[in-house]
Symmetry: C2
Subunit: 355 residues, 2 copies
Amino acid sequence: MPPKKASNKEIASNEVEKENAADLTIDDIARLAGVSVSTVSRILNDKPDVARATRQRVKQVMDDLGFSPHSLAQRLAVRRSRSIALVYPLADMEGRADVAIFIGKAAFAAEAENYLFSFAAASLTESRLLSLYRSAQVEGVILMEIHMDDWRVEVLKQNNYPFVMIGRCADNTDLSFIDFDFEAAIVMAVDHLVGLGHQRIGFFNSGKLYQDGYGPAVRCALGYERAREAYPVELRHFEMDNIQEAAAAVLESKVSAVMLGILGTHFGLPIPEFLRAVQHLGRRIPEDLSVICLQDDAIAKNMLRPLTSITFDINVAADWATHTLINRLEGRYSEVEQVILPPQLNIRESTLLQP
Amino acid sequence: MPPKKASNKEIASNEVEKENAADLTIDDIARLAGVSVSTVSRILNDKPDVARATRQRVKQVMDDLGFSPHSLAQRLAVRRSRSIALVYPLADMEGRADVAIFIGKAAFAAEAENYLFSFAAASLTESRLLSLYRSAQVEGVILMEIHMDDWRVEVLKQNNYPFVMIGRCADNTDLSFIDFDFEAAIVMAVDHLVGLGHQRIGFFNSGKLYQDGYGPAVRCALGYERAREAYPVELRHFEMDNIQEAAAAVLESKVSAVMLGILGTHFGLPIPEFLRAVQHLGRRIPEDLSVICLQDDAIAKNMLRPLTSITFDINVAADWATHTLINRLEGRYSEVEQVILPPQLNIRESTLLQP
DNA sequence: AGCGGTACCGGAACCGGTTCCGGCACCGCT
DNA sequence: AGCGGTGCCGGAACCGGTTCCGGTACCGCT
């Protein structure tokens, strides 16, 4: 029986020493350093049971040749794919500067933990979501754009697959999430306006998203209810998805200030267009109408006269989500974590003290 | 010698038929369907040499159990990682809505080709870039934010690793890229302004980025030179990285219009702040000063009085980059492809006909 | 001298797939 | 009857790592 390990690779490297660094394997390193593959593996993974001298010699060989271990093989062998994904359910990211920032931060955080970060784009079906896990493409995901009653959450929960949420559902038992406190945000907005002396305040929120049970829209509405009980001023609630109607509503309701809830750029009622429509009807901002908007700070602060806004810290959300998920995967701890981030008020030029 | 394949898995599935779909393997499918693993594999990959009846039966079993093959093992076996990455060299994505859109589109396009799309965040060193390939984490990358003389390009070229660029270098022989035609953009801007009757026009460009050899900055300057020769008007060039200085320069140069080149939000001289500074010095926009800005359309169009801007189609860039890279990896064709996207002019409210 | 303990290392099974190669059964043909 | 060809399938090597298990060499000790 001929020795079958007289592979062409061995022949090649005996004759010419010029292997491409890309298809160098742990065997090559072992052979060149005069040790076994187990030893090389131990060194790669910083395990004990290797003599100091050996360790250094082998490391030298690896450095010289520019070797880095085949990550697929590693992940297969340890049965850990070490990758997570952000699943983003919407069709495109037009106007979602927040998501961009999130991705950047999350990718960075994942990388620091030697995790692969990928991005699962739109059009997600149940079977695709499941096969993400089953095929070992990811060990866990970050879910965004959570609805009060979210099928993705159900599916993942039933299958016992790890995930964290940006946002939260109606029932969150056993679920880890970080969410922005939209309720408090609306209350904060009212408080700010009342403090400036406003007596009639309008709150605009997307009717469609509210009906859909989109978390932020629902919680904004909740915040509105809370404020209505807490403040002795006249609060009006408008569920709107149309610019002209919304602008008209501002006029006839005779409010002196408006809070713009969930209806940002990407949701059909872009703030700038809304404000333009209002101005077109003869209301100046902020002289005739104070405006305070939510979350979409890129727009608010880049106005020529920047808008007062209420925002949340997306960077901590990204960091939290990534680390919590990875901690869970690493088994570092497994308690359910639920955090709700407070809003922050950015007072700018669009809210005016009432005479 | 006892039969070593009496694994606990086999025992388990003989007793209780309840395997978790996640750790189902091709062996299980083979056993349950009464065929060999080779046959299952052939079916998974739509290869010939399988009887129609067998194929259906096995597929049925897979469907029933919700099996999907372990992607790491597959990729290892075929020695193709089927993944690409976008390498984005900057620290964060604050204000880079364009990058967000790019990521979304690119991820989507990659997914359609059954490629994994990941995002390699900042702080990229040469060795990390190389190990991305060597460790088989990616087969190819998309490079952004290209400089005229870019070390990453050199490194990848020397190692013969596949990549495509968004942007281009000074020397692009054998390189595939898609770039925006910044030269034409500036000429187009001048043309627009001249058409409105402007005689003194200022061009603002980041001095720092120009010095650094950042592609867009350099090509904008080139466009400026071209326009200067082509149009019989007074053109002034300002290399600026400071808001106050820039605003002052507008005043003393007595220009009636400015073109804002590469100095967007993320580059130290944010457009809105610049315009605010100008207004603060008493120049109204557009009555006293016409403004045309480049690329950062999210800002431009979300102004209360939206700015005239010149933009490029980032979606086609993302599509092109992804498909070109994947085509190359698939060996579908290998010619070098170089495309330069024309600018488009969005006339809005910030450019005024001169009296 | 004999013993147990420790430090270090190698062999080989294994992770979950793909693919080459060869074998069997059956067909139609001379 | 014998033959070549085709359709279908299984065995086993292989991808590039990790890890369990056991073995050797050497130490200090009684």
